[in-house]
């Protein structure tokens, strides 16, 4: 029908037809897949939610005299960063906490500040306190460093998230008799509430369920700037059960993404505190789906009612690795605000912001219309549903005392 090259030519000429993932639904309902596929070149998708496997690496520049932070320790606003790299390369993870944070000692812990918040402040252009200490070498004699640092003065500041953009997610409930605090939010006892986390009909991987267009090398909207898909995300699990429409019925594909943090915006990278759980980072991601054929459009036009997910108990089943599902619901049901679980009416809440996801779709649409964002061919495919690629649990093998002695 059309190629990415042809779409890019239209983008450059300002003649491209782009619609958001929300707009395409109505269009297809009114005109049908065939007609819309002829007219529409690109569908923009988006999602904005907490994505814990996010973080950023920095090259902070060499001090005078030099310090080798690698092998030492380092903190940004008291939040420890990973220092197992070369002299002044550090990686700050979204879930990192200051050493003196009480965590869950006073339960449920508030987790007011951590890696996600530092990343947001850096992106907002705020100065951050850097403290590092190391052991000193002949070539890197300095042992201590304390300085204010700003993102604009760093050599590199790169967002590198190993797992983002989950294709579908569980609905979390609590069957126990006490309130529990999870990464899916506070869950009231005896099915007091049901929390879900997906942009559903706007979400990138749900709109390209077989990864026909999204792959390694795909240019994306990332945190308000430009990023790329660099690999499949960790825990990528394309082989889960799918509905007849091809859409996974449980958490499935994921993306590893990268992009220049200096070009991103604090509206789209937001540090969050999850009561009783920890800190995280809300990441805004948008992907433009090129409509290369009718199938791709049909998938891109999936509606909330076409996308199903599983209800999972987070008091026993999830922590104990049981795969029991308490039932299946679609996102249209979830968005009505109440679902039925075990015969009980349960109010629902979303952790993923639909209004922000929609704004990403619109923003990406405007970039493409203005000719500021060209589409990319994927360089390699993500592991597909037929690949046999799966997400395995840890196989624990006890270590006997004798073996420990041998290692020593």
């Amino acid at each position: 029908m059309r190629t990415i090259k042809q779409i890019n030519e239209k983008i450059k000429k300002g003649k491209v037809v782009v619609v958001t993932a929300e707009e395409v639904i109505d269009l297809v309902a009114k005109k049908g897949v065939k007609k819309v596929a002829q007219q529409v070149d690109v569908v923009t998708t988006g999602t904005f939610g907490p994505m814990c496997s996010s973080g950023a690496y920095f090259n902070i520049g060499h001090s005078k005299p030099r310090i080798k932070i690698g092998g030492g320790s380092c903190r940004l606003n008291d939040v420890p960063a990973y220092c197992g790299l070369a002299a002044v390369d550090i990686y700050l993870g979204a879930t990192a906490l200051p050493d003196d944070d009480p965590r869950n000692k006073v339960y449920p812990g508030e987790f007011k500040y951590g890696g996600g918040h530092v990343i947001q402040e850096l992106v907002a252009g705020k100065d951050v306190r850097l403290e590092a200490s190391s052991y000193g070498t002949d070539c890197y004699p300095r042992r201590k460093l304390e300085t204010w640092i700003n993102i604009k003065d760093m050599n590199e500041a790169v967002l590198f998230n190993v797992r983002n953009c989950y294709q579908n997610y569980n609905v979390a409930v609590n069957l126990s008799d006490r309130t529990i605090y999870t990464y899916m939010g506070m869950l009231k006892p005896r099915l007091g509430n049901a929390n879900y986390c997906s942009a559903a009909q706007l979400s990138p991987l749900l709109k390209d369920p077989f990864y026909k267009t999204i792959g390694i090398g795909t240019r994306i909207f990332l945190g308000g700037g430009i990023g790329y898909v660099v690999w499949h995300g960790t825990q990528h699990n394309p082989s889960v059960k799918r509905k007849e429409n091809g859409i996974p019925q449980a958490p499935a594909g994921t993306l590893a993404v990268i992009g220049d943090l200096k070009e991103m915006k604090p509206d789209w990278l937001v540090g969050v505190s999850i009561l009783g759980y920890g800190v995280s980072l809300c990441v805004g991601i948008g992907v433009a789906i090129p409509i290369l054929d009718e199938d791709i459009l049909r998938y891109a036009a999936a509606r909330d009612e076409d996308i199903y997910t599983q209800i999972v108990d987070y008091s026993q089943d999830y922590p104990q690795m049981s795969t029991t599902s308490l039932g299946e619901v679609n996102y249209a049901q979830l968005k009505k605000g109440k679902i039925i679980v075990q015969g009980k009416e349960v109010p629902t809440g979303n952790l993923s912001s639909y209004p922000k996801a929609l704004k990403i779709c619109q923003e990406l649409k405007s970039w493409i219309k203005k000719g500021e964002f060209l589409l990319t061919e994927k360089l390699a495919s993500l592991p597909t549903a037929e690949s046999g690629y799966t997400f395995k649990p840890l196989k624990e093998r006890p270590i006997s005392p004798v073996e420990i002695q041998e290692v020593l």
Binding site: G185, T348, Y354, P355, K356, L358
Partner: protein, 135 residues
């Protein structure tokens, strides 16, 4: 009849006095305590629903003021920091009085301060801490 939700701040010298009792005894007012934090020799805070005849209600409020109790209307106490709210909606099922609800069309979270009873359940569960308690 009048029915209002108010926040009372007691200076430390008043916390050991039975002031609320007087509202019933002398002014024939009904009260329902929604929240109270009273520690001896420290400032006390009480959130209550107060109802009764308009004339009595005014007299009761006058009495409280004359004792040195500071009074605020409740809706001012929980506020949303609009810059921080991402409109995710995780607060919605937690609110016991539907002061937080989803606007179905835009899916934005609406906050109705008039319905809010300042239970504070939304404050700590908000991932961006957009719901704030103001004294």
């Amino acid at each position: 009849m009048i029915n209002k939700r108010i926040v009372l701040h007691f200076p430390s010298r008043l916390v050991d006095q039975p002031i609320v009792y007087k509202l019933v005894k002398d002014f024939d007012l009904r009260f329902n305590i929604l929240k109270a934090s009273v520690t001896p020799q420290q400032e006390g805070l009480m959130v209550m629903e107060l109802s009764g005849k308009a004339e009595n209600y005014d007299k009761g409020i006058e009495y409280l003021k004359s004792c040195g109790v500071k009074i605020q209307s409740l809706s001012h106490d929980v506020r949303r920091n609009e810059d921080k709210c991402t409109h995710c909606g995780v607060c919605v099922p937690v609110c016991p009085v539907a002061a937080l609800e989803i606007e179905p069309k835009t899916r934005k979270v609406l906050f109705h301060p008039k319905k809010c009873i300042a239970c504070e359940l939304c404050i700590k569960i908000c991932p961006t801490r957009a719901m704030e308690f103001h004294f």
